[in-house]
Amino acid sequence: MVDYLIAGSGPAGVAAAYALRGTDCLILDPGSQRSGSIDLSGNLFDLRQRSEDLFDELIGENFESLHNLHQRPISLKLKAPGMRHIVAEQDVLCPIISDTFETSLSFATGGLANAWGAGVYKFSDADLRSFPIRASDLDPYYDELTELIGIAGENDDLAPFLRPSQGLLPPLRLSSFFSEMIDRYVRLRPNLNHRGIFLGRSRLAVLTKPHRNRPAYGYENLEFFQPLNPGIYNPAFTLRELTDAGQARYERGYLVTSYVQREGFVEVFARRLDTGTSESFQARRLLIAAGTVNTARLVLASTGAHHVRVPILDNAMSCIPLVRLSRIGSARDPNDSSLAQLNMVYDGPLFPEVLQAALYGTAGPLRSDVALHFPLTIRGNLECARYLSPAIGLLMLFYPDDPRPSNFMQLREDGRLEIHYQETPRRGVERGLISAFRRMGYLSSIRLCQFPRIGSGLHYAGSLPMKASPGPFELYPDGRLYGTEQVYVVDGAAFSRLPAKNLTFTIMANAMRIASLIRSA
């Protein structure tokens, strides 16, 4: 019997483990790891100019990077040979049926944070309006996490929306494209703010100075090809700290499949992935942190609730390319990185709620990933990739989501999870933003915008929401699952709604909050 059993080693599971450090805490997880010994070090562009051939590292001996040419498309950040393990076992371990919702689920140590954009943003009371908790309930944990993981950013024009933070590290270097953009914003600020547009520095779980035995980010630009850059926070770092210090135990190679609430404890069943055999564990408290979709599957399976509908939320996204004509033909900027360079908040008349966007350069993916997005011949497209890319920034706009009857998951008897989702058409805000950015000197067109399928945002949440007075498949404010005494949900499944804001930081803070409450009970 353990005191606490945590299912999952992603941001939520590890944050909870951190709050429970030093107790009798066991973390179970499939813990998929990279196979092979490819190890890139140094700056990607230096490597590409020095190395004769990077086929194994960037394409893969099984043509992993060509995945989207012949299989269901996945995020460009998940397909390189060094990244494939992050979502490799999804179809086996959690098969999904959906025509409308794109899912990428991770069974790797650290979860989807192995490929995250590292955006970390506090939720405000407005963001939390359907939650049975307030921002002040999360603030102590936001602060503790800021110190634990190291966050680079600034308290600038976005502070009223992102909430001021203490202890921020200096922001990342800006590429020349985005340095110019922020300068132009400052000059046109009154007009843009009047139109509801606010620009500022991204807040990222990236180190710009050494912090807690981790070195500063070195602008290696390897994020699309290799996880576990020590300069970019990964829950696996904290997990290793905890286990090395004997403050938690981690057993990888287990998929938690179900639980049974017994008298005074929870019996947890897990399948050993190497042998296929089932083992049972006993815990005084079970904390489920398997990721929204997996957590829902686990709870539904454990209660035999086939065909019960639970909500599913995700941030719909729009991708707006912004072209600065005067930068065509510019040299590649060594300050450009695949991380978000700026953030934008839209608080205007075109949408009833605040929207947030992250702005990126083009340094991340392989050029071949995007080369055919231009309408010219192949050689023409190559010229565009070469000369036009330095002149392009990408604005990724997020939309909020609230539970709707049309958007749900349900577990079938055969164990597969069905996801149904009806997207809301969107074009109005994009046109308004294109017009505003044109005034700043950046061209775009609604025809150039891309609208990735819902689910591509990987911001899954809300399947077992917290409520002040919960019912079946809902949680008490302390994260306890209705109808149980010792089962808690600590990941994004607990969210009551999803504002247009990266959710990982709040997932972690909420997991710490719940775990702290459990510990002190």
Binding site: D53, E57, I328, G329, L376, R379
Partner: protein, 141 residues
């Protein structure tokens, strides 16, 4: 590389195809590794489009303008085999140092960049029209 068994005839055919497509795009013969990997990638990744191979064969046998046909085909039907094959080739060459300068610009070239893009816009219009004619004339649609 994973153990992929490719019939020798197919491998030889795909190597010839790689050479033709590579010459069409870059104006010179590909390295042996590129042709080998192209053959493997076709079997590994493009088997689901094998029913269109005869069209690609006709383009090569007829020594047709690959760029023109591909450009027109991509506008008509983005998920066509020729486009996918050329896309594979792009991936394979991008990761080699000798092609780096085709994908990235390390020195400022604003005038040159603007001129080259303008030239390629005009060129692409010409190629797209030519491609449509070739598709019609040789029944490649």
């Amino acid at each position: 590389m994973s153990e992929l068994v490719i019939a020798p005839e197919l491998k030889a055919q795909l190597r010839v195809e790689a050479a033709y497509l590579h010459r069409a795009l870059f104006g010179f013969e590909p390295a042996v590794e590129i042709a080998e990997r192209y053959a493997s990638a076709n079997v590994h990744c493009l088997g689901h489009l094998a029913h269109e191979q005869s069209r690609v064969d006709r383009i090569i046998e007829g020594k047709l303008d690959v760029e023109a046909v591909e450009c027109a085909m991509r506008h008509l039907r983005p998920d066509n085999l020729l486009t996918r094959k050329l896309h594979v080739l792009l991936y394979l060459v991008e990761v080699r140092r000798s092609y780096y300068h085709l994908f990235f610009n390390e020195t400022s070239a604003r005038l040159k960049g603007n001129i080259r893009i303008c030239v390629h816009i005009l060129r692409s219009v010409y190629k797209a029209v030519k491609g449509r004619l070739l598709i019609w004339r040789y029944g490649l649609g």
